[in-house]
């Protein structure tokens, strides 16, 4: 009997391990709104720093990483005795790593995605986004009075870095995610016109298919590039994305109403017919290389991919257009996007002076300009310009830049995993075959959450 008890307790011990475990974007332009840049007084004031190791956390984006490595070297040279220990994590892991390292007091400067829309008045019983949780928790340093904040467009600082009247983040960039990169040589060689409407895009893909040329590629392995790719179609169906989110919450818009159903059908075509076979194995940061190989006609993607395309094949000829999701060309003028990354500082950092100097020097207009050029960001600092191929291509669309859906959406607690307008739900990335299947599943999962809070 005693042996049985011991054996049972042994099993219990083994299994015990089981436990343990106002945000509307201003119309952007390639040149950010005019604003006097702050002087470098702050930099001068912090020029002599005590020897220390400054711990910096950023997300993986090859051009950004390369730029930061260069910036870190210059920072270390400017401040003898200061060492920058920079960790790079995959975008999917940034939130988790941020949370754990902040909790462990193991990081000083954190690259954080923008402070976008938080919980809205019509939302009930939802979990706030991580930035709001961190700010409420007192984990982020108040940057409101720091001189370098003045270097940035006040609208960007207000929309993407301010919470409860305090600035916690300097936001570095706006990015567009509803775009289409065009392989100019393949379009010319196959005598295909660059599409301005959905019908033209469908026809273009058909022409490429006939010529045995893959129409579109995307980083399907990480899944999110597929559903973000579909945001151009979502935007063409619902140009006012804030109203869309409110409509979904209040019931005035449904995922299976006629407008949505048409949207789902386009998402189906995008995932099943347009994106090349095998894209499920291409990682997000591998897609630019695949496109730059010249073998694919288009790359559905985001503005931040442009530097990687250029780096992969400098002589490759490409351009960028707003995703033609609508059958009316005029409706396809919008580039939907978001405020992207920014810098925050841990509230209880022991290296506060070094951290602030780091941000201050990064914010110097000349340094910031180099960042914009390297990363292909749409600048948030006055006077900075995106003088690249992407900048020239996107310039006509930037007056119609709009914040996209995912920056507003917080699902009701209890909603299912299909309560999202994701192209990735369709084969080959998902299970659905018809638009009706996806539309009904999305509405059912959304309604289940809405019903649960009644």
């Amino acid at each position: 009997m005693r042996n049985r008890i011991i054996a049972t307790l042994s099993v219990a011990a083994l299994v015990a391990a089981a436990c343990g475990g106002s945000t509307q974007s201003p119309a952007a332009s390639v040149v950010a709104p005019s604003q006097p840049a702050a002087s470098s007084e702050a930099t001068a004031a912090t020029a002599s720093l005590a020897p220390t190791t400054l711990r910096v956390l950023i997300h993986q984006n090859p051009p950004f990483t390369t730029f930061m490595e260069s910036f870190n070297k210059k920072f270390e040279v400017a401040h003898p005795g200061v060492t920058v220990d920079m960790a790079v994590v995959a975008p999917n892991d940034l939130a988790t790593t941020t949370q754990t390292r902040l909790a462990a007091k193991d990081v000083d400067v954190v690259d954080m995605f923008a402070f976008d829309t938080g919980v809205q008045s019509y939302m009930k019983e939802v979990t706030p986004p991580i930035w709001q949780t961190l700010a409420d928790a007192g984990s982020l340093l108040d940057l409101t009075d720091q001189p370098f904040v003045q270097n940035y467009d006040p609208a960007a600082t207000k929309d993407a870095g301010t919470y409860n009247g305090k600035v916690y983040e300097i936001n570095l960039a706006r990015v567009g995610f509803s775009g289409l990169y065009i392989n100019e040589d393949l379009f010319a060689a196959n005598n295909v016109k660059v599409p301005t409407t959905w019908a033209e895009l469908v026809a273009a893909c058909q022409a490429f298919k006939t010529a045995s040329v893959p129409c579109m590629t995307a980083g399907g392995q990480d899944v999110w590039p597929i559903f973000v790719t579909g945001y151009g179609i979502l935007g063409s169906a619902y140009p006012d994305q804030a109203a869309l989110v409110e409509g979904l919450w209040t019931g005035s818009i449904k995922w299976n109403d006629p407008t949505s159903l048409a949207m789902w059908d386009k998402l189906r075509i995008l995932a099943t017919d347009m994106i090349e076979s095998g894209a499920t194995g291409i990682p997000a940061d591998g897609a630019p290389g695949r496109f730059a190989s010249g073998e694919v006609a288009t790359l559905s993607g985001f503005t931040w991919l442009a530097p990687a395309i250029e780096a992969a094949q400098p002589s490759f000829k490409w351009t960028f257009i707003a995703f033609p999701g609508s059958d009316t060309a005029a409706d396809n003028k919008y580039v939907f996007g978001k405020y992207d990354q920014g810098w925050t500082v841990a509230a209880d950092t022991p290296n506060k002076d070094a951290a602030l100097a780091y941000l201050s020097e990064f914010s110097e207009p000349t340094t910031y300009q180099k960042f914009v050029t390297a990363v292909g960001a749409i600048p948030t600092q006055p006077g900075a310009t995106l003088d690249t191929a992407l900048g020239r291509a996107i310039a006509p669309s930037l007056g119609d830049f709009r914040i996209g859906w995912e920056r507003y959406w917080i699902p009701p607690t209890g909603a299912g995993q299909f309560a999202f307008p994701y192209a990735s739900f369709f084969k080959p990335f998902g299970e659905f075959v018809t638009a009706q299947q996806a539309a009904d599943a999305a509405q059912k999962d959304l309604q289940a959450g809405l019903d649960a809070i009644k």
Binding site: A7, V11, A12, A13, L14, V15, A16, A17, A18, C19, G20, G21, H59, N92, L94, A95, T96, Q99, A103, F113, D116, T127, P129, I130, T133, L134, D136, A137, S139, G220, Q221, V223, W224, F227, S277, G278, A279, T280, G281, K338, E406, R407, I410, T413, G414, A415, G416, Q417, F418, F420, Y422, S424, P428, F429, G430, D445, A448, G449, D451, A452
Partner: protein, 309 residues
């Protein structure tokens, strides 16, 4: 009280030797496990430096009964049990076959033993990345082989079921070596005299296996089944490395991670941390593992007593 190890210092030394390990277990295993139960009754997000806000059984109510998400949790639970069944049965069978084969006096057996055991010493991340390359759908090795037979598959990126089955394959591959080594150890404790006696009595190879080898392998069978059942019920890391957040693929362990560390939307930016809710999911997983583990232990012990006395 008299120590079973003797009087005075001699009687106390064994307890002293056990103490460090016991303390480590209490601090790093049992303590966090008990804390998890406490956290499961709160709405903590793991960040807020404020007193714990107890919300009773609300997390459990939500996890098991609220909306479509609860149905998905139940599906994840059933998927976990299916994963456990597939991994345990296939890994057990293949491990036994490999051990029987590599227990022969044949050329190259040591090399093959090392080869089969090699995946065990790789970390989960390395295992996952290796298989991602193997399963790359644009002319990767597996895709190329399938292509020879005219089969086109998205492999890991395909349907939820396809991705789930591929993770099952990788899980088996990564742990097969342990199963094999335990069986090998069991086989090598069986005296040759018993096999010889059976042969003299006219037993065929098959009879020798079922009436000599199999009964005497009982301790190894018990160990392998318990390890495999518990390990596969808790497994989730390969799901993260190989397929990340995908509808129709999650097992319960992954749900715990996703809820606690903001990986539920598939989005890289709009994450929320629900560590109280994740703790409740973890306790549910604990209960499942406990019930299955204790039941398996009970049945296997009875089998041992029946076969070995």
């Amino acid at each position: 009280m008299k120590s079973p190890f003797g009087r005075g210092l001699a009687g106390a030394i064994p307890y002293g030797l056990v103490l460090p390990g016991l303390l480590l277990y209490l601090v790093f295993a049992l303590g966090p496990s008990l804390a998890t139960i406490v956290y499961s009754l709160t709405d903590t997000n793991g960040l807020t430096p404020r007193p714990l806000n107890f919300i009773g059984l609300a997390n459990y109510q939500e996890f098991l009964f609220r909306g479509a998400a609860a149905q998905e949790n139940i599906q994840a639970l059933l998927r976990t049990l299916l994963f456990c069944f597939l991994v345990t049965t296939i890994q057990f069978t293949l491990g036994l076959l490999a051990a029987l084969l590599l227990n022969q006096r044949l050329a190259g057996t040591r090399w093959f033993r090392a080869l089969f055991f090699l995946p065990v010493i790789l970390g989960v991340t390395i295992q996952g990345l290796v298989w991602r390359l193997f399963l790359y759908p644009l002319d990767g090795p597996v895709d190329s082989v399938l292509g020879l037979f005219g089969v086109q598959s998205e492999l890991l990126g395909g349907s939820g079921l396809s991705a789930f089955l591929w993770v099952t394959v990788v899980q088996i591959w990564s742990n097969l070596g342990i199963t094999m080594v335990i069986f090998l150890a069991g086989l090598q404790t069986i005296p040759d005299e018993l096999h010889e006696a059976a042969r003299i009595d006219g037993a065929s190879r098959r009879q020798g296996f079922w009436h000599v080898t199999w009964p005497l392998l009982t301790p190894a069978v018990t160990t392998n089944l318990i390890l495999s059942i518990i390990g596969s019920l808790q497994a989730w890391q390969l799901f993260l490395v190989l397929i990340n957040y995908r509808p129709g693929t999650q097992v319960l362990g992954y749900v715990v991670y996703a809820q606690a560390f903001g990986q539920t939307s598939g989005s890289t930016t709009s994450n929320s941390f629900r560590q109280g809710y994740g703790a409740a999911a973890s306790v549910v997983l604990f209960v499942v593992v406990f019930i299955v583990g204790v039941t398996a232990q009970y049945l296997l012990r009875r089998r041992e007593e029946r076969l070995l006395g």
